[in-house]
Symmetry: C2
Subunit: 424 residues, 2 copies
Amino acid sequence: MTSGVPHLTTALNGPLLKLEAILLEKQTQVETWLRQQWLKTPAPFYASVDLRNAGFKLAPVDTNLFPAGFNNLNPSFIPLCIHAAQAAVERVCPTAKRVLIVAENHTRNLFYLESLETLRDIFQKAGMEARIGSLLEDIKEPVSIDLPSGKKITLEPLVRNGNRVAVGDFSPCLVLLNNDLSAGRPDILENLEQEVVPPLRAGWSTRKKSDHFTQYNDVAKEFAEQIGIDPWLVSPLTLQCGEVNFKEKSGIECLARNVNNLLTSIRAKYAEYDIDREPFVVVKADSGTYGMGIMTVKSAEEIENLNRKQRNKMSSAKEGLVVDNVLVQEGVYTFETLGDEKAVAEPVIYMMDRYVIGGFYRVHTGRGVNENLNAPGMHFEPLAFAQSCSTPEQNDLPDAEPNRFYAYGVIARLALLAAAREIA
Amino acid sequence: MTSGVPHLTTALNGPLLKLEAILLEKQTQVETWLRQQWLKTPAPFYASVDLRNAGFKLAPVDTNLFPAGFNNLNPSFIPLCIHAAQAAVERVCPTAKRVLIVAENHTRNLFYLESLETLRDIFQKAGMEARIGSLLEDIKEPVSIDLPSGKKITLEPLVRNGNRVAVGDFSPCLVLLNNDLSAGRPDILENLEQEVVPPLRAGWSTRKKSDHFTQYNDVAKEFAEQIGIDPWLVSPLTLQCGEVNFKEKSGIECLARNVNNLLTSIRAKYAEYDIDREPFVVVKADSGTYGMGIMTVKSAEEIENLNRKQRNKMSSAKEGLVVDNVLVQEGVYTFETLGDEKAVAEPVIYMMDRYVIGGFYRVHTGRGVNENLNAPGMHFEPLAFAQSCSTPEQNDLPDAEPNRFYAYGVIARLALLAAAREIA
């Protein structure tokens, strides 16, 4: 069976990553340590993690506990998803026969609907009846939508009956959220007797990126100690500013100061590792997703001199969430590129339970190596990973394809562990 | 990534299997029922199951709790094996970091050694240090052997220290038997404080095929009731004869009588389902493996008129095990063939824990549809399954490739469940 996926050859000719060699050499220790961690803190039901690979460092920049994009995974690895879904369900509700998926609210986004239908189908193939409930008020009866792939998806209105939610007469013991709750925790989902995964508190209405990265930094430190590396090689430096209001220009000074401090720290690290690049930082909303409220800066002056348009953009996170807490994070260069055009390619890794089930590259031709590819309106081409992230080859070079994918899977699982601790 | 595996097109043009349609239609019930069963009786650590697909019925004929042939699986699905190995280890010994594999004794069989090294590598990739211990007396120090695949395998002498076994100073908490103990339970493995899987009692020195098929018939009945089918569609009729000595010609009359009774029962079933084929039965040793002591007969007279050579052959099971109990089993035709030559192809399914991890066809050009392809000295060409057994496609025809593979996986798991109950 062919996957129809080209190998990312140019990307794989990037600078040899020492880290990959160490992860390969210490693979048994890495996996043993991770297994011990999962015994202490069970993995979230599912997640996707955006990574940046700068060659000299490999780090997560975003961990999504309500992943979309399942349609971008390599169809060859759907069996992995199916087995992982069975394991994930077994952990939270061993007797579950059915699952009700609560969808994200952007019904007109066909890419999202393709992902949703792929996710539903994974559960069907795992032997669970799966149906999709929508919170949208304008969905008052089941709606079937034809998808570009030729598949069809059916969305049904989510209704509450006592302490249970249902679509029609379908009210299973397991409710799977695929809605990140950016708009807040909806009443209809509060105090259910059903098992709700991930828990409501994992939604963006309560979750803070800064909490995640605080946990991540601890995880990275512990992990780095295990295998004898500098934790900086796997984690972005991060600072947090409270009470920033871009519209009213309050808190901007604190932000500029933190940007400056962080740039200084990155510069020191670059000097330590002889990296001849200009440091940059990413400023983003502490809550929320979809790349809104994100900006890349190379100096504190850029923050001080923001124009009205830029300030407005930073204020409008998804579904009107007001940006007040702001994360200032080390920007990690993306040095993986594809083809003659040197299209920037960023890996996204998918996990269910503690298993890495696959991933894809976001490939973008029109953007630089230090820009965010998940910005609003940004178009990317997904390029499914040609191989799984579970088959390191000791006899191959550290940066051979299976070993690079393995490294992705390891770092993504560190982010998964951070998320597990975050929502525990 | 291509798997380099041709699709078994001709085989898939066989008679439409009603059973496949039912398994597909009732997939959720099938999986739910299986999940419930694993909660009651945990799956064996690993197993392979030989199936026969007659078009009108699909049944297991042999369940191996110490599987070899891992090298015949599609490399694309090794990630499935790795995840399943992690799950299997987690169930028996969650803190295990290392595994000691106890090998079969035929060191000169390069096919077996390829399988053994593939198995060891699966554990390595799953993040466990894995080494191989041999019981052979002529292995007194570590021996490295170059394999046809270009890999190298290292066998080390298994030694006992107190209540533990080890190779060198490697004495992990988990000991995985890949030796079917046909020659008896070796003293060195008795009363270990280490976790030994599968348990010694699962070895052929104590295990009886008749026990397995007694359990299988119960499983098949319960399963058939769940999905509303005749259990005969998934199980071979089986009778047992005790105290048969082919060399001394004792017990032969009982055997002939049972052969006759079984042929009559099969004939009745063939009449019920309008099957225009000549029934046949397979006579085999109740213990043991490797296809020794197996014979195909179409009448009781064939049993009564066995010549000395045939009787001697039936007496010599693997490693001199004397045949005394004999299983008389309905022969299931193999109507899957490959290519213009109509080479007979028999599926073998591999499982770890409760997960189907893959399979292959034994393809043989020189034998008939009612002969045993796993006979001593028989050469077969392995043809790895092109797809996994976990991705049924509701929108495809019931006998489309993914659905046929799914059916194999279901019936193989019924045999796995029977084995689980057998060794519980």
